[in-house]
């Protein structure tokens, strides 16, 4: 065929190279240059897709194709080497998204090599999905590394201490193979002082450290960072368990330290115009609070406690027209307590803040009517997390389940990527989620559903699902095993206090060798003492994730990897 994918690739590579040289590189004649580049990308990605199809690559597989004879025929031997590597690398530099860079890596070995050596930023969503050495070997020139460890529910004490998520192997591997490292971001990992010491001494250009919800280190480790990272410009510590050995570490920053730009180890951060975090200030008077907020008309992000009350939220709604993210935290954790925010506050916000796309809302009551209204007013939600404090609480007006309310959210908010549901919910809400939430990537379920059908709706319907976490819901082996191929397309599944049995987990393990099935039973020995009623023993906590690394070797004795 005349103009096959290989030829179109070459055509656009030439075009882009010519364009880029003519324009003198990035930055000049931005308007015109940008349109040409976008045009190129579309064609490039279409070409990649064609080649991918030809080589029978599936989404999600990280297998490198050995250039098959058919693709060689299409490309012509040496087509890829016609262009100097620098040109191809320059073109790749316009693909910032890791997903796109992963895609071009799959085209052929030459592109794989060029891409990996020029990769500057690597994101590892699950530290056990791939070995640290392998990442360091593949991307020796990485500048910014992000690694996440424990499953999300670890934040709520559902994962026992010493489960894992150690930062050591990652820092060690990077110290050996990626000396140009400048930025390290870690979330929910166990970081030791020794690791921080190694970090501070291994990377001469290191400038940014972000640790979120981590543990295992003390202020001594921070002292090492302060002392040895001469170019440190950002130190961001959020909600970590740090052993405080005194303020000495603060004086470890050298007197000549002129590089530090952003330092955040308290809870207040950001300037008032961009974001305001008042979620640690319970003693703030509600009227003072609302007076202050009413002046912040450019506010985009607001984190508050529920002491703000529905009235306060109305003030927010009438003042903060640019608001994009709102988080309302509970000041009282007792489930049957009283909260000053209700569904009315949420409705007011939805009416007044049309740009709202991210919500975390703790309250004691909700209604379907309110949720339906919110959905209509704010169809732009990408993140919607509603936590009604009392598990299984119905619509406070009608006493019905909240299926219709959440159904409206997923139906109207076509770009929804993250959802947390709560209150009284039947299998019906999952039917809605499976049917409408096509962009959903992360779903959190607690105390919801009636039967295996609920989970099946989600597994079968949510095409982009990456993370599914479930607690205290009646889903069992049938749901676990209903769509086993799905797990290969997901990062992870968490199920605790559900109806899954060990037998079900074993079946899953035998069917899917590329998954790690972690059965976490803290109460070993105690379950035997319970009356069994002839039932199979239920698995207390289950964590399933895809991996190229096989069973991990740092698992504690209460974790069984099938």
């Amino acid at each position: 065929m005349g103009f096959g994918p290989g030829r179109s690739q070459s055509f656009f590579l030439v075009l882009a190279a010519a364009r880029s040289e003519k324009l003198g590189g990035r930055g000049s004649h931005v308007q015109i240059g940008y349109e040409w580049q976008m045009c190129f990308f579309v064609c490039l990605l279409i070409s990649c897709w064609f080649l991918g199809e030809r080589n029978n690559l599936e989404t999600g597989r990280k297998r490198i194709p050995s250039c098959s004879s058919s693709s060689k025929a299409v490309l012509g031997e040496g087509t890829m080497t016609y262009f100097p590597e620098e040109v191809v690398e320059h073109i790749f530099s316009f693909l910032p998204a890791q997903r796109d860079r992963n895609t071009v890596s799959l085209v052929c070995k030459v592109w794989y090599e060029i891409e990996r050596l020029s990769r500057r930023s690597v994101f590892v969503g699950n530290c056990y999905a791939v070995r640290a050495e392998r990442v360091a070997l593949r991307f020796p020139n990485v500048r910014a590394l992000t690694v996440k460890g424990k499953p999300h529910f670890a934040d709520f004490n559902l994962v026992p201490p010493d489960w894992g998520g150690y930062a050591g192997p990652w820092i060690e591997a990077a110290a050996r193979g990626c000396v140009g490292l400048e930025e390290l971001r870690m979330k929910r990992m166990v970081v030791s002082d020794e690791s921080l010491e190694l970090l501070s001494r291994s990377f001469p250009r290191f400038r940014a450290l972000v640790l979120i919800s981590c543990e295992g280190f003390s202020t001594d480790g921070l002292a090492a960072i302060a002392s040895h990272c001469k170019l440190l410009s950002e130190l961001d510590l959020q909600e970590n368990e740090v052993e405080d050995r005194g303020p000495r570490w603060l004086s470890c920053f050298p007197d000549s330290c002129t590089s530090l730009v952003s330092l955040n180890f308290a809870c207040i951060k950001g300037e008032v115009n961009a974001g305001l975090n008042l979620s640690y200030a319970p003693t703030l008077d509600a009227s003072d609070l609302t007076k202050m907020i009413s002046r912040c008309v450019k506010l985009q992000r607001l984190w508050v406690l529920d002491c703000i009350s529905d009235k306060g939220l109305q003030v927010v709604a009438s003042s903060c027209k640019d608001l994009q993210e709102l988080r309302v935290f509970p000041s009282d954790f007792y489930v049957a307590g009283y909260s000053a925010v209700t569904e009315e506050g949420l409705v007011a916000i939805s009416l007044g803040c049309p740009k709202l796309n991210s919500l975390l809302y703790f309250c004691h009551q909700m209604t379907n009517a309110a949720l339906i209204t919110v959905a209509k007013n704010c169809p732009n939600f990408t993140r919607f997390r509603l936590c009604i404090l009392e598990p299984g609480k119905p619509d406070v007006m009608t006493n019905q389940p909240l299926d219709e309310g959440f159904g409206a959210i997923v139906r109207e908010c076509k770009g929804l990527r993250r959802l947390s549901i709560s209150g009284l919910l039947t299998d019906k809400v999952f039917m809605y989620i499976g049917k409408y939430a096509k962009q959903l990537e992360m779903l959190s379920i607690a105390f919801a559903g009636d039967s295996d059908k609920g989970m099946m709706h989600v597994m079968n319907g949510c095409k982009n699902l990456r993370k599914l976490e479930i607690r205290d819901s009646p889903f069992g082996d049938a749901a676990l095993l209903g769509n086993v191929a799905k797990y290969e397309t997901m990062r992870s599944l968490w199920m605790s206090s559900c109806n899954v049995t060990l037998k079900g987990c074993q079946v899953l393990a035998s069917k899917m060798p590329m998954l790690n099935i972690e059965v976490i039973n803290e109460w070993d020995g105690c379950n035997e003492m319970e009356e069994n009623h002839g039932e199979l023993p239920k698995v207390e906590k289950l964590y399933v994730y895809r991996t190229t690394a096989g069973a991990r070797d740092d698992a504690p004795n209460f974790v069984k990897i099938l």
């Binding site: 934040d155 709520f156 004490n157 559902l158 026992p160 201490p161 010493d162 919800s213 909600e239 368990e241 809870c267 979620s279 640690y280 319970p282 406690l305 935290f329 509970p330 000041s331 954790f333 007792y334 489930v335 049957a336 307590g337 703790f362 936590c387 404090l389 009392e390 598990p391 299984g392 609480k393 119905p394 389940p401 947390s420 009284l424 919910l425 039947t426 959190s444 607690a446 105390f447 559903g449 009636d450 607690r471 205290d472 009646p474 605790s496 206090s497 803290e522 109460w523 070993d524 020995g525 105690c526 379950n527 003492m529 319970e530 009356e531 239920k538 207390e540 504690p556 004795n557 209460f558």
Partner: protein, 198 residues
């Protein structure tokens, strides 16, 4: 419509009464809070109305950091287990009684501890490998080392500064040398002041 939500929430239940019993025995027949809670929810609904203090593990989903920051009455104490290479902190105010505390401590040291049921129906913490028994002790406001469980719960929360799970062999030694103080001795003012322990 889900049946489990009828009166009380499914997984929050009756570990919410003041446990002033002077033993470490657990109130029910099971030591599994999450699983047993679901079974016991039915009983709890008949026995008493849902208490405002009832809550399941890890619910509501708020990070520990945030919880502790907001609790004015947080009572964090260090917990050390002889032979374990790390310390933990536990918030006494977040627990309802000795039984609840036992479960929490076990959870924190799950890799070295196991729970065993004694002949007298009491529950104790043992070494997960050797089965050697641990004796829970605590240091009180006066710096004296006491046996956990000797005083009413509220008094314990009030006075406890830190907790140490001692190997029972060592505890016997200390007790023999009168380094332990009983509540009776304290009130009578007749005890011999013990040597400072670490």
């Amino acid at each position: 419509m889900s049946t489990s939500s009828a009166e009380s929430s499914p997984a929050v239940s009756g570990l919410d009464y003041d446990d002033t019993a002077l033993t470490l025995a657990l109130p029910g027949s099971s030591t599994d809070p999450a699983g047993a809670d679901r079974k016991r929810a039915a009983h709890a609904a008949h026995d008493k109305p849902p208490s405002s203090k009832a809550r399941a593990v890890g619910w509501p989903p708020v990070r520990a950091y945030r919880r502790n920051a907001l609790r004015e009455d947080a009572k964090l104490v260090k917990v050390a287990v002889d032979g374990a290479p790390y310390l933990r902190k536990v918030d006494l105010a977040a627990h309802d009684g000795y039984a609840d505390l036992l479960c929490a401590v076990h959870g924190m040291f799950a890799s070295c501890l196991a729970i065993r049921r004694g002949a007298d129906d009491g529950t104790k913490l043992v070494d997960s490998i050797t089965d050697a028994e641990y004796v829970p002790t605590y240091e009180d406001k006066d710096g004296d080392w006491m046996l956990v469980g000797d005083v009413p719960w509220k008094m314990f929360v009030e006075s406890c500064k830190r907790i140490r799970l001692m190997k029972s062999s060592e505890a016997v030694n200390l007790f023999h040398n009168q380094k332990f103080v009983t509540p009776g001795q304290k009130s009578a003012g007749t005890y011999v002041p013990q040597l400072k322990t670490k």
